[in-house]
Symmetry: C2
Subunit: 404 residues, 2 copies
């Protein structure tokens, strides 16, 4: 089926329609073959929020920088306290810590470096001063200290040269400040794919609401979006867009109506169209091609179809190029109403989330701009019964972070 679609990709579908459609798997595989991880770049750590690490961050220092006391008390050699208990206290000599000899104990504050030769902190409660004076007195130790007790070992939190954050991590909001505080000045991150968005506004002259929505999604997926509304000649706009971008998303005129001139314009600009027409609902008129070094996605212009094709195909190309990992967790949510779908087509159904239930939305033209996420019906399925638990892919996780 994919081969059939590929063979037809240089034909004009206008007023004829799609004789065959590529499978969704064939479209994904085409994208997978072409969307390559971009090269790394080095940037100041302060600008690195939400960027993807191209290399692991190694500890720049040992932290703590020395063995340090984790509690106020006496720094001792653990072996010197062996067998001490409240019935048979052992005597140690309290010193100022300038030297630590066998049988010495040194008053130490939590956080201070352990004197050489000591390996444990004895809390105040586990020893009794013999003469009231804290310095240079005799100390009766009433409990045994284990080696390492109440000591934070050098490098126990961070070791110089050892991984602190793994390559591939998309840095969280707090990570840059964390790394800066550790003394990391710059980081190697994957270059963000630049995505040129060319949208055709509604024919009625209403404001284009799809453009802003696409730009926000591109940012979410780690891309750097730029936008132009179609004003002039399509072929020239496509060529301009492709010249400076890793990916061109053109929204509108991808179908097989008389004025659907996106595919002919791509060919006229010197580009190729590998697939046109995909077994994806909504979004079936999507085309995948190339113009110069840019991947070109021709998406339908009506919002549900465009956003479905964006989520299922464009988002994957962007995330793959930018090294943004696929998520580990997808919440399972019960459906309010049944979803009916055709075999042979991958179907995306927009949903609203309320009270931990997902309500499928009618596919009117603005619904997906307000939807909370979507459910995917695989091509082998006829849909889901009401009440069944289905994976929901949220559009935007703002306000998602959770409290029990």
């Amino acid at each position: 089926m994919a081969d059939g679609a590929a063979a037809r990709s240089d034909e004009d579908v206008r007023l004829f329609g799609f004789a065959t459609r590529a499978t969704f798997a064939a479209a994904l595989s085409w994208i997978g073959d072409r969307a390559k991880l971009l090269a790394p770049e080095t940037i100041p750590v302060c600008c690195a929020a939400h960027r993807v690490l191209a290399a692991p961050i190694l500890g720049p220092i040992d932290r703590p920088d020395a063995d340090r006391a984790a509690r106020d008390g006496y720094a001792v050699r653990a072996a010197d306290t062996e067998a001490a208990d409240s019935y048979t206290p052992l005597l140690l000599r309290v010193t100022d810590g300038s030297a630590s000899q066998l049988g010495d104990a040194t008053i130490i504050a939590s956080g201070a470096a352990m004197p050489a030769g000591t390996d444990a902190v004895l809390p105040f409660e586990m020893a009794v001063h013999q003469n009231g004076a804290q310095q240079d007195g005799a100390l009766a130790v009433t409990a045994q200290a284990a080696p390492g007790a109440w000591v934070r070992r050098r490098g126990s939190e961070i070791q110089a040269g050892r991984e602190v954050l793994a390559a591939g991590r998309r840095l969280r909001t707090g990570d840059p400040a964390f790394l800066a505080a550790l003394g990391v000045p710059e980081v190697d991150v994957v270059r963000r794919p630049t995505v040129a968005v060319v949208t055709i506004g509604p024919k009625s002259g209403d404001a284009d609401l799809l453009g802003p929505t696409l730009l926000a999604r591109i940012g979410r997926d780690g891309g750097c979006g730029t936008r132009a509304s179609i004003r002039g000649e399509l072929q020239a706009m496509l060529a301009d867009a492709a010249a400076g971008a890793d990916l061109v998303i053109m929204a509108g005129r991808s179908g097989c109506g008389a004025d659907d001139d996106a595919a002919p314009a791509l060919r006229a600009a010197g580009g190729t169209l590998a697939l046109h027409g995909i077994a994806l609902q909504p979004g079936e008129s999507t085309g995948l091609g190339q113009l110069g070094r840019a991947m070109v996605l021709l998406l339908p212009g009506d919002p549900p179809s465009c956003l479905a094709a964006y989520e299922m195909l464009a988002a994957r190309a962007i995330r793959r190029s930018g090294g943004v990992a696929e998520p580990d967790l997808v919440p399972m949510v019960p459906l309010d109403r049944k979803i009916v779908s055709a075999i042979g087509v991958v179907e995306l159904v927009f949903v609203r989330l309320r009270d931990r239930r997902a309500t499928p939305l009618a596919a009117d033209s603005l619904a997906p701009l307000h939807a909370d996420g979507y459910v995917v019906v695989p091509e082998t399925s006829e849909g889901f019964a009401a009440g069944s638990l289905v994976p929901v892919y949220p559009f935007d996780t703002a306000g998602w972070t959770t409290l029990p």
Copy 2:
């Protein structure tokens, strides 16, 4: 138990410890009583990403602004086409649309306003020109058009004065551009709570990694964080912080060691401490109080305890004040290893997420800064068996937004 703790809250716990601890429910209820939704403010829509709507957004216009064709074809009166089929075509007169009379059809482009009196678009395929000319000719209609067919009704997407986005919505990244495109210049949003963070760096002099982490979390929870490291006198710093803030978070010196002077400093500054010592693990030395008009949270200084108390208590106070709704969805994830917990204490266990499994982390001092989220063991539970499915609260949803 809460009463017991409250009764002791004006006492000095240093070197005595917490004789009783407030229940977690009592602490939550104290916060719930005091963290009131802040007043709304009006801001330009361009600055409103991630802000919480204080009032619904109403449609500023009807969209479409008129009944408009959704397809190229002929604008007709549906009743005029009644009973037409390919065997018994009906004849209509093609006009230029300047007037629409009984029996007229007008060529119309998708997106154009429907001529007065027409209520359906007949696709070109459903009619045959009798004389080749498209204008002023006779049209043989071969199929019946239903009323409203291929017409986008005025206001079908957005109605002037009708809700577009509901009050309480935390605006998503793309919402401001969407609203701006609709012609909404300003929005009423809930004022963000200002949160003064006062952190005591590690006693060893190592860089403070907790401060940046708290600031990022505060932003995530809809607060506006400011930060000072403790340099001078604690009492004066607390007073300064409280003067300009809705909430003061002081991290460090909340415990019952000899130098734990946060609680005495709060009292000396003229504040009150309502609860000190909570059945929460880690984080049991947390104190809740008031200084002037600011709520004051005294949190422990070691990172796991501080972040546990932040997530379980401070985050709720901030979200409640800022109107950030609690999440609808919490992913259920199988545990890699068992979690053992004590009855009577709410326990927070930091976890790492890998391969759709949650691994509990050892509570060493930097683990929570890298953890992906946490699991909460209620006070009535002794923990969870390995392999059991538990709700995981993710710390940060960057990189979470999902692809199937």
